[in-house]
Amino acid sequence: MEEIKLSAHNLNLFFGKKQILKNVNIDFIKNQVTSLIGPSGCGKSTLLRTFNRMHDLSPEAKIEGTLKLENLNIYDKKNSVTEIRKRIGMVFQKPNPLPKSIYENLSYALKIHNFPKNEIPQLIEKALKESYLWDEVKDEFKKPAVKLSGGQQQRLCIARTVVLRPEVILMDEPCSALDPISTRKIEDLILILKKDYTIVIVTHNMQQAQRISDKVAFMYLGELIEFNTSENIFKQPQKDLTKNYVNGHFG
């Protein structure tokens, strides 16, 4: 039985007068990896950022439609945005560790959500182990996070998200700034994390989408063109647009 974790219904998004997302309907299934693919500017990242309300930062963004985390209406004013962002974590395109030490990058997230002080060290250790970063950083917690390599920084950002035990993790092209080896490590990590989390990932890399996703959504010019299992999208796309894109004829 597939359980819907995160959904968007009749979603329209405008930046000023320009419509970026056009009537998007999509359901993300619990404990699956869903990839959002499509050419640059098609609205993948914009769609991703609607779920944790990152568009709240831009006053000109206007959102219509219903977005839900299970039964919780994400844009209902009654619901606290900080609580939603705790349940829906995000990993960004460029690794963005805070200008603090490795340890503080993780403890920051726990402290703002008032986790008991005595539990923090164990939670951090667990998150770093889950992100396969523990062995690389366990002796240098006090080192500035920016001194880590790009791949390590991105795994730290994943650990920082995981440490809060979210239900959904949104990833916005998390490997685009990384070399192939670091990319491989993150992909392996995503496949392990999906046992506990629902993952939505934006990617430009077709091979990556094939390697890691259960479902793939193809978007074009703000519309959701095709949404199906990874197998179907890549082997038997229903629409010509999808076929041309996944075969590399445009994009």
């Binding site: 963005n96 703002i112 959500h113 920016v146 998200t161």
Partner: protein, 295 residues
């Protein structure tokens, strides 16, 4: 133009820039050496121990006393007060401008704040005499409002444009990705500002405070007009004080050339110079220690 000619121009420009750089350094060194040379003449007359520990500055009487302590304490008191007012006010204003203010408000407010810096110090001193001083006298129920507190308020106003402008630049320069990282973890706007944005801007904020501090320490005309100019050891913010700068300005015009008193003014100038130098070096040191946390 032939290559040879272009290379020649290149060489010439290099020399010119080198020369201008060296001239600046030479000027600075010259000023310091001149101060030092004259103060050595002072220490030939007065024991350094008396200079630093003496609690009286009284060069005019028969038994001239050259104790720098009251002047030093005065300068410290006025500057400390100014910083206590200007640092929180300046940084919070900068944070408001950068994080909260509507773009329209910002376009009006920023030039207005920068204009504060253009007010001549003599006008600010005048305001201190006719407005702030009497106000202070009324509020605290004292006879005369020309005291350290008055000076602090005025110096705070003078240091504010520097602190606000540079702090605002520093806060603006914090990458959006830091704020996004914090917000995406579920931090609210306040937590993000106080725990991420301001700490990330700290090297710049320290620079802003150091420049503001330098402005307050070196300011002469305003404190000369507004602090009462009593060269005695102050007991608190409501006592009249006389700063090092004011002392030099008042006495330099009257003092006979190349007397102990004349040299004494150079000596206190050297002390001021050293204090400013130490503060700048400390600021630089702390800012550098923090910078290693940045990419």
């Amino acid at each position: 133009m032939s290559i040879k000619k272009r290379e020649h121009t290149d060489w010439l420009l290099k020399k010119i820039f080198k020369a201008t750089g060296l001239i600046t350094i030479a000027l600075l060194a010259g000023i310091f050496l001149m101060l030092l040379y004259n103060s050595i003449a002072f220490f030939a007359d007065v024991k350094p121990l008396d200079f630093f520990t003496g609690s009286q500055w009284d060069p005019e009487s028969n038994k001239s006393k050259y104790g720098i302590a009251p002047l030093l304490v005065s300068t410290g008191l006025v500057t400390l007060g100014a910083m206590l007012i200007a640092i929180p006010l300046g940084i919070f204003t900068a944070a408001y401008l950068s994080e909260f203010a509507h773009p329209k408000v910002k376009t009006i407010l920023k030039p207005l704040i920068e204009m504060l810096a253009a007010i001549p110090s003599v006008a600010i001193g005048f305001l201190g005499i006719v407005l702030v001083g009497p106000g202070i006298a009324k509020i605290f129920g004292i006879a005369n409002g020309l005291n350290a507190f008055n000076g602090s308020v005025l110096l705070a106003v003078m240091a504010l444009p520097t602190i606000i402008t540079i702090s605002e630049d520093a806060i603006n320069a914090v990458p959006l990705s830091h704020r996004e990282a914090s917000l995406a973890l579920g931090a609210n706007k306040w937590q993000t500002i106080f725990k991420v944005t301001l700490p990330a801007a700290l090297p710049g904020l320290i620079a802003a405070v150091m420049l503001g501090l330098g402005r307050a320490l070196g300011e002469t005309m305003t404190v000369l007009m507004a602090t009462g100019n009593a060269a005695v050891m102050p007991k608190g913010f409501l006592d009249a004080v006389r700063t090092i700068t004011a002392t030099i300005a008042i006495e330099m015009g009257e003092v006979p050339y190349r007397t102990t008193h004349y040299f004494a003014l150079f000596a206190i100038a050297v002390i001021l110079f050293i204090i400013t130098l130490i503060i700048n070096l400390l600021g630089e040191y702390f800012a550098n220690r923090l910078r290693k946390f940045h990419a």
